[in-house]
Structure formats: C-alpha cells, structure tokens
Amino acid sequence: MKNVEFRTASSVQGGLIVMGGVTGVAAGSRVQLKDHAGRLRNGLVIRSADDAVLVEVFEGTDDLDLERTWVRFLDEPFKLPVSRDILGRVFNGAGLPRDGRPPIISADRRDVNGEPLNPAARAYPREFIQTGISAIDGMNSLTRGQKLPVFSGGGLPHNRVAAQIVRQAKLLGEESSEFVVVFAAFGASNADARFFQESFEESGVLNKVVMFLNLADEPVIERLLTPRAALTAAEYLAFDLDYHVLVVMTDMTAYAEALREVAVLRGDVPARKGYPGYLYSDLAEIYERAGRIKNRRGSITMIPVLSMPSDDITHPIPDLTGYITEGQIVLGRELANQGVYPPVTVLPSLSRLMKDGIGKNFTREDHPHVASQLFASYAKALEVRGLAAIIGAEELSDADRRYLQFAEAFERRFIGQGEDEDRSVYETLNLAWDLLSMLPPEALIRVSEEELAKYHKWQAMAEAA
C-alpha cells in the first residue's frame, strides 16, 4: 500500500479530500499527496471506510486539481526520527530540518502522538528548581517534572521571562543548569523565534537546545503537530537518554486556534466560543506529557506560554489550561505599566506542586509559612489600597498605612528584579522577611512564633526608628 499512488480523490472541501476506491486504509495513517505541480503535501486519514477515505491535508486544498493529484497512504502515523544528534538542531513543525543541515537518520522513529503514561508508573515531582526569580521561587515555586504555564497578554514580556527561567533554572546546590531545552514555537513571529535563538546563543547553550518552529505564516495544520513532535523529542531525551528536559512552548493560544480552525472544517460540534468540546482532552494530551517516571533518571518540566485573549483568564484557552496544568504564573498589565519586571501578578498565580517541594528538607524550614504569609499580607494590602483609592490615604489608620507601604515595597523590591538578576532562594526568603518586618508581629498569623522570633525584625526596626 505504501508504494501505490492513487488518483481517486472524488471531492474536496476546505482542507479535506475524500478518496474513493481504496480499501483497508489504516485510521490515523499519514498520507502524502503530489499535486499537479509535482509539489508534495502531507495529510492524515481522519476517517476510513472502504468506499470513502477522508484525508486532512496540512498545506490546504485550495488550489488542488483532483484530476492531477496523486495520493499515497504511508500506512503509519506521523513519526519523528530520534537520536542524540537532535541536540543543537532546528526543525519545522513536522520535524524536518530547517537549519539547512541534513535530516536526522535513525532507525528509531517514534509516533509523535505518544502513548499515555500509566499513572502507576509516575513518580511525584518533588525537587525544587531555583529560577532565581523571587515571585516564582518564593511564592509559586517550580519542581522538576511540573507543568507550569505562563499566562500573559499581548505586549507583556512573557518571552523575556521564559528566557530568564531557561537561563537561570537549576537545582539547589548546583553550580549551573544541567538541563537540556526543547523549544517549540507555533504561530510565532520571526522576531519571537529570533529572540529565543539569540538568547540561547548568548548564554552559550545552543548545543543543548532542540528547536521546533512553525511560524505565523506557515501551515496551520502543521501547528497541531509541532508540540507533539517537540514532546516526542523531549520524551526521548528524558527517558531514553536521562536528561532533565525543560520544554518551553509558545504560544498555546495559536495552537488552540489552529485546532478550532481544523474542527470547523471537520464539522465538529462546538462547545464554548467555537472551540470543540475535545479541546480539553487535546490540550491534556500535550500537557500531561510532562513529568517523572519511576526508575528513570530524566524528567520533563514544561513551561508553556500562552497569551490570554483580551487579558481574560476565563477565556477557554487559559481556563482549560489552568484545569490541566499544575498551576500558572500570571503576568499582569498593571504591574508592567508601572515598570515592574517581571510583572508577575501573584494572587491568581499558583504552583500546585510547591507544597511538596519546599520547606525543611528542600529549601528552608520557614519557606511554606513565609509564602503563605506573603500571600495573605499582600491580599490584605491590596484591599487597603482599594480603600485608600476611595477615601484617600490620609484617612487611613496607621496600621493600614503600613500595609500600603508594604504593598509598594513588595511590588518594587520583591516582585521586581533585574532581567539578569539571579537571586538564590535564601536571598528571596531573607528579602521576604525584610518586607514582612514592615508589619507588626500580631498581623503575621501564618508564620509560627518561633519563626517570628528568628527572622522578624520589627523590634529592631522600631528601635532604629
């Protein structure tokens, strides 16, 4: 079947063609088309019966002349050849080289769809990764094997934040990063792709990076393959070669939009905002490929970047992502406008795996309480700030005024930091105590009395004043 070409397409409509007269075609099989001009296109069997096989064509069907279109069924799903040589290479969304170098030749070719990991085989992620960013390490910390997306919006510095994480991420006690990076961009602009390439170059890690690029002007359907190809490479690096892999994917919104486009063509019933009901499961197939496996050394830690349409966190894409990932780092326009970098809005941000990766045996014993206290005090401070906006700061009580100052300092000094500033988690925690010391000990219920005695400097500050 692989070597037979058919010219039996009977109809064509918006990216799909129907083939007659072919029997025994495998569902999900890859298809190669040769059009009238001799150009090759890729496709996928999405429905198979002996009288009609429905094929989705990645590069589109707009100018297809069915009389002169030859179709080959490759009898296998999309596969990615893997070997050690993928490190340092740049591929397109379908896994073909786009760096001008020869294709990867390997007998080991893997189905890009992967197979679901058995939950009994998973190992729970517990190792704290220090990113050097206080808002993350102190309050929303990342662990090895976690999937923690960055929720952002147009014009916000998500790329810079992601690049900073890639540059600085390391385990405690490690001199430098021992991660390899898989970077996937879909629907990205050339400028975005170049930004990351240069950032990897500058930090001298280019030979530890694999890139999969599907740019904004490239086929939409290929966008659906890009994260799958990238994660197939990541799984190989992590679980065959024992690497700790950091996967950065941008932008999940472009991915979901591509999925919607294809769903409309297929005539699938839409659920919310025109997105198909299976968007959740489809995203989960991607995100759940992060993790650790028992008895395996490597790991996949995932940082997907997504822009929230109209900054709306309840939009289906961030919403469904939040329902699947293990937390989210939310960037906010308000902080960004005030010149705070990285503009991490901490209250809606969350790391679900943090509680198991910090504290006594991982970072420092006071870490869980300090994080909780920062959240509580900052939430209270924002309430006070809201009040001050109505009744004027002069009308506030002394206690409330302290909260106002705390909010200010917290945003400038704790959240805000330099793009090259790599704070250790101890620096982060000490800084947190400096700020908490602006508030009286009675107001700090989430830290223990012992911790207050050890770290809180209220008394000292009061005396100095």
């Binding site: 429905r47 197979e115 939950p119 009901g277 939009h315 329902y323 209250l347 959240f375 509580a376």
Partner: protein, 592 residues
C-alpha cells in the same frame, strides 16, 4: 465474527448482526475493546475504550456477549484501576511505563490465594439468597472482605467449601437454583456497571460523615449516604478538599475516582496514602482505599465509564455492610465525555453542546448514593462527593446548575478566597447543606447540645460582617459604630481562627468534632465578651489591640485533637482577659 466497516475517531461501524446495545465488542487485530452504542440493521456502532489509530476496514470484530462489568471480590483494596477496571500496576508490569493498547489483564489477580473462612451459620441444604454473606476473607489488616452470594442467585446451598486458601476463580460452593440449574460460587462475581446493585430498601441517613474539616463538618455537614458537590474554578481546591476527605473521613472504605484529571494527583494519593495512618483504625490509609483512574490524557470513552465503575465498586462494599465514600474528580469531565459521545451520534445539543439527557443522567448517577438496608438485612451506605469544574468558574453552566438541584450539600469554592490563600476556599455564603437538622441531633448527643445555636450564631456573624465590609469599602472603617467594628473584627477572627484550615498544617489538617466545637465556642465567647463591653461603651479600638485576638488565631495550629486540655484552659481564661479590660476602662473613667 464480524468485521470493521468504518473508523471515525473512537467510533467504529461494524458489520456485526447479533449484538445488542451496551454489549462489549473486541475489534481489530490488536483486540481493542469497546461497547455498542447504536444499531442499524446488520451494522453496529461501537465506541472503543482505546485509541483507534491503525485499525483498518475489513479487520475482525466480535461481540463478547456481556455489557461492561466489573469483577467484585478480594484484591480490590489497595489497587489502582483504569476507567474499565484494568489493574494499572499489573498493566505496568506487562506493558511498561506507557499504556500499550489491547493489553488484556484480568481485574483481580488470578494466582493469588485468599484465606476464606466460611460463615459457621451456613449449612448445606439451607436456602441462600443474593447478598447473603458466605464467609470472609481478611483482605487487609483493617478490612474483612465479606464474600457475598451474587445478587441474582437464589436457591439451595448444596455445598460450601471449608476454611482454606482459594484463588478467586476456584469454586467455594454450589447453589441449586429454583429452575434446577446449578450455579458455582466463587470468591468473586461480576456485575454490569450501568445497573444499580439491588438492596432491600432505602434507609434514612442519620450520622454525619466526619471529615475533620471545620467548614464542612461544623457549617455545611454531609451525612453518611448523602450526596455532595464541590464546584469551583481551577486552582480553588476541589482536589485538595477531596483528598482531605479521602484521608480523614470516618468511612470504612474510600473509593477515589480520578476522572479526566491529572496523573500526578493520583501518584500523590498512591504515595501518601500508604504512609498515613487512619485516625479511626490506626492502620495505613491505603488499606481501605481503592483508586479508579482515567487521567485527562487517557482515552475519553473510558472516562465516561470510569464513574460507573467507581460507583459499582462502592455499592459492592455497601452491600457488605460498610460505609463507603466515593469521591469523583471531576464529574464535569465525565459530562464532557458524555457530550462527545452524543455529538458523535449526532444527537441534538441543547445547552453548550450537552445533550438533553444530561440532567437525568446526572440525577441517576447521584441516585446511586444512599444508606440502605442490604439484601442480607445489614446496613451500608454510599456517600457520593463529586467535584464540578465549571468553565470560567461560572456556576450557571449546565453541569453545575443541574448538579446543584440534585445534591443536598453544596460546598462552593471561591476564586477570591483561593487567591487570598484562604483555604479551604469554601464560600460560607454560597454553600448550603440540607442535612443540618439530622447533623444537629448527632452533635447534640455526641459533642455538645449548643452546636446548632453556635453554628447559627457564627453564620449570622459572618453574614453581618459581609454587609459591614461593603460599607467599609465605600466609606472607610471610621464610619462604623464601635459595635459594628467589633463585629467585623470578630468575623475576621472566625475566618482566620476557625474557617481557615490548611491541609498542610500537621496539627490542624484534621480536627475532631470536639476540637471543632471547642474552637467555635471559644471564638464566639470572645465575640460575646467583647460585645458586652462595647455595649457598655468601651471603644472597639481598645479591644482590637488585645493580644488575645492574635493568640486565639493560633490555637487551631497549637492544639492537637487528642490534647484539648490545654486549649480548654486557655478558653476558661477568656473572661478574665476581658474583665481586666473592663477594670482598666472603669478606672480610667471611661476616657480610654
């Protein structure tokens, strides 16, 4: 034998004349299993529990002759199954880290021997009926597995095996049925998951399920045999709350169904449960727990089945006379799976793509909860707690709104509370429980007669403070009277000192009913004492500075449930603290 005509996603059209709706089929060279969901002449439409990639028209298909069923017998506890009851540990051994397709492993181990002790009351020649206990197998240290006559078997017990070690498949007895047929009895039997298991009659639920979580037990109680829902946006704490319940509740069996959620959450349960000790039996919690897992990356069709597998397992332990709790995380993923199937069958969507029968399916599912008199005359219960994941956190969406009408206890999680890290983020204004009168009786008899009144007082205080907060947000706190300021302060004390309860706090993760009531009564006492002074004219400003208020906020994390004596001493000293203030205030001639 039939054959495949067409493959369309998880749906296959088969030429297979003799099958009926709901029947299991095996399809293709690799033997994928699925169920018939539609019929048309000689063709059957089936949905497969696994990915159909690679299947070809023309490959074989066969009907298996039975509907989706579970195996019920020793070997269930401690285990983790997938959505169609494949044992994931055995699958792991057989197919490696990733779940290969078409792996067939029996649900219960076939080679393990169990020590069966026949019930001494059972005599050959006597009649037996479905649900009767034939004997027991001590499956784990804490749980006796009672071996039941399958529900539909009635007749004369011809023979019952002596005490000894048997595999689940070996015969342990024979029954002569009314029609003369002879049925073999084994340690296990099968039951179709979509059919509720029979019982004699429904009983009233009477006892509260104690979860150790104050906002649940004290404010919005659930009864053993009751139905509850936990709706909330992502990250609000549905899973944590369900895990807390699975850990601490005073049920005898816990069934944890991970339906379309994260793999790591199940790993988490698998890792912590064996290490935690059941406060009620002193044994590792895993001994009473079993997991059903269809994670979000596993095939959607099996997701629809997984909640039925879970509830059938729950009913089976109920029929043995146990109090069972099933938590389902999340019922929304199940409803979405239902929606996908409906969509593929071309059924008319009515709201947000959901079929018209969403509400009735949900109701029928929750109806399987309850406290019953079992076929053998004992009592057992299934308590059902479903998480709901509304898109965008909007509770007016179909799954949340239908569920709200079905359940009795509603634990509404709020994004605002979660954002401020007020955990559990159960909203005290939005939540409700229809079980308060029954629970009140139990609290009055077992803990304190003042429970119902104290609960009401606390809820009133919280509601009043909400009003006051609105005023403050408009015009500032100075606009409030002293009484109002004190009300606000006392509500804050209740929120931090009582409602907030971190799952991660070793001491406070579980609070016994006694501790719950002691704290509630203590904080209300502070409120009342203060109010008395304020009414006498003492300024709230003065009271708010009392060190007692900061101290009382820490009590929950300082006193274990087993060691309440010290806490009670502190409580006894509350009036003295206020008396001191009253004295100072008097002496200073009302000018303070």
């Amino acid at each position: 034998m039939g054959k495949i005509l067409e493959i369309n996603g998880p749906l296959v059209k088969l030429e297979l004349p003799e099958t009926v709706l709901g029947e299991q089929v095996r399809v293709g060279a690799i033997g994928l299993v699925g169920e018939v969901i539609g019929r048309d002449g000689d063709t059957a439409l089936a949905q497969l529990y696994e990915d159909t990639a690679g299947l070809k028209p023309g490959e074989v298909a066969e009907g298996l002759g039975w509907p989706l069923s579970v195996e019920l017998g020793p070997g269930l506890l401690n285990a983790i199954f997938d959505g169609v009851q494949r044992p994931l540990n055995a699958v792991w051994e057989k197919s490696g880290d990733r779940i290969a397709r078409g792996v067939a492993v029996p649900s219960l181990p076939r080679d393990q021997r169990w020590h069966f002790v026949p019930d001494p009351e059972r005599r050959a020649g006597a009649p037996v009926a479905g649900g009767d206990v034939l004997g027991t197998v001590r499956e784990t240290e804490s749980i006796q597995h009672r071996i039941l006559v399958p529900p539909l078997t009635h007749g004369e017990l011809l023979e019952l095996a002596p005490e000894g070690d048997y595999t689940v498949e070996e015969s342990i007895g024979r029954v002569k049925m009314a029609d003369g047929r002879i049925d073999k009895l084994r340690l296990f039997h099968r039951w179709p998951v979509r059919v509720p298991r029979p019982f004699r009659r429904r009983d009233h639920a009477v006892k509260p399920l104690i979860t150790g979580q104050r906002i649940l037990d004290t404010f919005y109680p659930l009864l053993k045999g009751g139905k509850a829902a936990i709706p909330g946006p992502f990250g609000a704490g549905k899973t944590m709350l369900q895990q807390q319940i699975a850990r601490w509740c005073n049920a005898e069996i816990v069934i944890y169904v991970g339906c379309g959620e994260r793999g790591n959450e199940l790993t988490d349960v698998l890792e912590f449960m064996p290490e935690l000790v059941d406060p009620h039996t002193g044994r590792p919690l895993m001994e009473r727990t079993l997991l059903v897992a269809n994670t979000s990356n596993m095939p959607v069709v099996a997701r629809e089945a997984s909640v039925y597998v879970g509830i059938t397992l729950a009913e089976y332990f109920r029929d043995q006379g146990y109090d069972v709790v099933m938590v389902a995380d999340s019922t929304s993923r199940w409803a979405e799976a239902l929606r996908e199937v409906a969509g593929r069958l071309g059924q008319m969507p009515v709201e947000e793509g959901y079929p018209a029968y969403l509400g009735s399916r949900l109701a029928a599912f929750y109806e399987r909860a309850g406290r019953v008199e079992t076929l053998s005359g004992g009592h057992g219960s299934v308590t059902l707690i479903g998480a709901v994941s509304p898109p965008g956190g909007d509770f007016s969406e179909p799954v949340t709104s239908h569920t709200k009408e079905i359940i009795q206890t509603f634990w509404a999680l709020s994004k605002e509370l979660a954002d401020a890290r007020h955990y559990p983020a159960v909203d005290w204004l939005e939540s409700f429980s229809g079980y308060v009168p029954s629970a009140a009786k139990w609290w009055a008899e077992n803990v304190d007669p003042g429970w119902e009144a104290a609960r009401g007082e606390a809820l009133d205080l919280l509601a009043a403070s909400e009003e006051l907060q609105r005023i403050v947000n408009l015009v500032g706190v100075e606009a409030l009277s002293s009484e109002q300021r004190w009300t606000l302060e006392a509500a804050g004390l209740l929120k931090e000192g009582l409602l907030q309860q971190a799952a991660t706090d070793e001491i406070d993760s579980f609070a016994s009913p006694e501790k719950q009531y002691a704290l509630l009564a203590a904080l209300l006492e502070i409120y009342r004492q203060g109010m008395k002074l304020v009414k006498l004219g003492a300024p709230a400003r003065r009271l708010i500075q009392m060190p007692l208020l900061a101290q009382a906020r820490r009590w929950k994390s300082q006193h274990k449930s087993e060691e309440l004596a010290l806490l009670k001493e502190k409580i006894a000293r509350i009036p003295a603290d206020f008396a001191q203030i009253a004295l100072d205030y008097e002496q200073s001639g009302h000018t303070a």
